[in-house]
Amino acid sequence: EKTRKGLTEKIEQLIVGYADIDDEFLDDLEAILLTADVGVKTTAQLLSDVRAGIKNKQIQSPEELKPFLQEKISTILISGETAEPEVQPPMVIMVVGVNGVGKTTTIGKLGNYYREQGKTVMLAAGDTFRAAAIEQLEIWGDRIGAEVVKHTEGSDPAAVVFDAVQSAKARKVDVLIIDTAGRLHTKSNLMEELKKIYRIINRELPGAPHSTLLVLDATTGQNAVNQAKLFGEAAAVSGLVLTKLDGTAKGGVVIAIKSELNVPVRWIGIGEGVQDLRPFDPAEFSQALFAD
């Protein structure tokens, strides 16, 4: 029975230099990647990169293996990344994703990030469906000192969003962050609703939303690829937020998402507190994939 620990020892043995890069070692690398949710296809790709690296002597000794792979992964995650757009206020950020991934919490943390930069922040309670979703956002609004635009539970989310954009323009707030109800990407009526919300934002403020963040739970497996695909089609997703990385899940599926759909990760969530949001760091992330 090969445990993760056994593997670290093995890598150490390799570094001391009394083992060769053999198939068994490549099997172990495969195991690390697969158990980090990197997925079969992307793992196969990465391993073939490693084999090529061995062949063309980019990897000459076992201890060069892990850095080589980490470098490859970082490169995938970095490529084509663009900085946040500079826009005339209000900058509008729409937050979308399947149920329970951490959208509302992320909005609280993100709002706090902009507040700390001295910006005024407004939140829109676009989840009118889930029980007490509005109250949850209001508590976050109180915490960070942001105004919350809301209607009653069960009302039309498009109307809330319309009001929020008008109000953000009139009040000249710097950042408007829009919460949306959790929805599975396979539910076409709910995805239509999202498209409608998107259209209204864009109609009321050309160029907006300036960023659409798709929130992914790091515990999620390969289904996240479908989520990214279908949310991308409905709402032009510009970046990902990977939440719950304070658990033991590695969130490796974002590598597949980046290489297949070219959507960059912007933020990571590492807890439930107001400060638990960090900018995504590809190098750190690739290193953590191999940590115990």
């Binding site: 158990t35 949710d37 029980a131 976050w140 739970d217 515990t219 719950k244």
Partner: protein, 308 residues
């Protein structure tokens, strides 16, 4: 779905041996490569896949191909049978205590669906078994968690016990129990805060509640979209607390749901219900056979085989 390819791939693998009588080791190995890939793509845990494949190989090699089946269908049948068996029988019920109230505690990671599932379960118990449940709001951490349960309770017309602000979850649970006895509620469904399995303090809180109110059932709520980590999570909750059953949520999407197999394999506990939507009537009996074919991603092939 993306994965309908498994049957095709297997078909190609087996083209050359159509009509041969026995499954050779080489044939089976070839087929298992595809099966392994399908299971991993469905998010079945890496180690669980490994053990499963080894078991299938052992069973399949040297077997006579059944009369009306092609070799590929035969292998699929073996895989499917084993998967279904691993997933356990249908046990969609809550063990009712001989002396009421029956106490059920819902536990799991953040956002898995505990609060919603508490309400769904209450709905089922009222409608199908004429029970008189009490919902208990023992999540004091998440913003508006208590309110969420209260709204759901109102929708169902089922009472919700919420304590004074500042009351510890273990005391909330104890008070709720007294309340249930005083108001002849025969089921007590405790909603707990989402927590990470590695958070010692919060895991201790669950152990304290368990010690004080002795739930008849501790149900672990698992999101069907969970990946490889499902094993670690389920193992931790089970080791720390002892889990009596599992509820798999968000099966109304297109997740293949390999976590079902992983969780079942590491805890040995039955999956009791499946969450099939956000509405309060969307809790269904869990069907191991359907789950097996969902994980393999080939319902059509299986119904063909069943007819054979």
């Amino acid at each position: 779905m993306v994965f309908e390819g498994l049957a095709d791939k297997l078909q190609q693998t087996f083209k050359k041996l159509r009509g041969r009588g026995k499954l050779t080791e080489a044939d089976v190995n070839e087929a298992m490569r595809e099966v392994r890939m399908a299971l991993l793509e469905a998010d079945v845990n890496f180690k669980v896949v490994k053990e499963f494949i080894a078991k299938i190989k052992e069973r399949a090699i040297g077997q006579e191909v059944m009369g009306s089946l092609t070799p590929v269908q035969h292998v699929i049948k073996i895989v499917n049978d084993e998967l279904t068996e691993l997933m356990g029988g249908t046990q969609s019920r809550i063990a009712i205590a001989s002396r009421p109230p029956t106490i059920v505690m819902m536990v799991g990671l953040q956002g898995a669906g505990k609060t919603t599932t508490v309400a769904k379960l209450a709905n089922l118990l009222v409608k199908k078994q004429s029970k008189r449940p009490l919902l208990v709001a023992a999540d004091i951490y998440r913003p508006a968690a208590i309110k969420q349960l209260q709204v759901l309770g109102e929708q169902l017309d089922v009472p919700v016990y919420a304590a004074e602000p500042g009351t510890k979850p273990v005391d909330i649970a104890k008070q709720a129990l007294e309340y249930a006895l005083a108001h002849t509620r025969d089921m007590v469904l405790i909603d707990t805060a989402g927590r990470l399995h590695i958070n010692e303090e919060l895991m201790q809180e669950l152990k304290d509640i368990k010690r004080e109110v002795k739930p008849h059932e501790i149900l672990l709520v698992v999101d069907a979209m969970t990946g490889q980590d499902a094993v670690t999570v389920a193992e931790s909750f089970n080791n720390e607390l002892g889990v009596d059953g599992v509820i798999l949520t968000k099966l109304d999407g297109d997740a293949r749901g390999g976590a079902a197999l992983s969780v079942r394999a590491v805890t040995g506990r039955p999956i009791k219900f499946a969450g099939m939507g956000e509405k309060l009537d969307a809790l269904e009996t869990f069907h191991p056979d359907r789950m097996a074919s969902r994980i393999l991603g080939m319902g059509d092939v299986l119904s063909l085989i069943e007819k054979a």
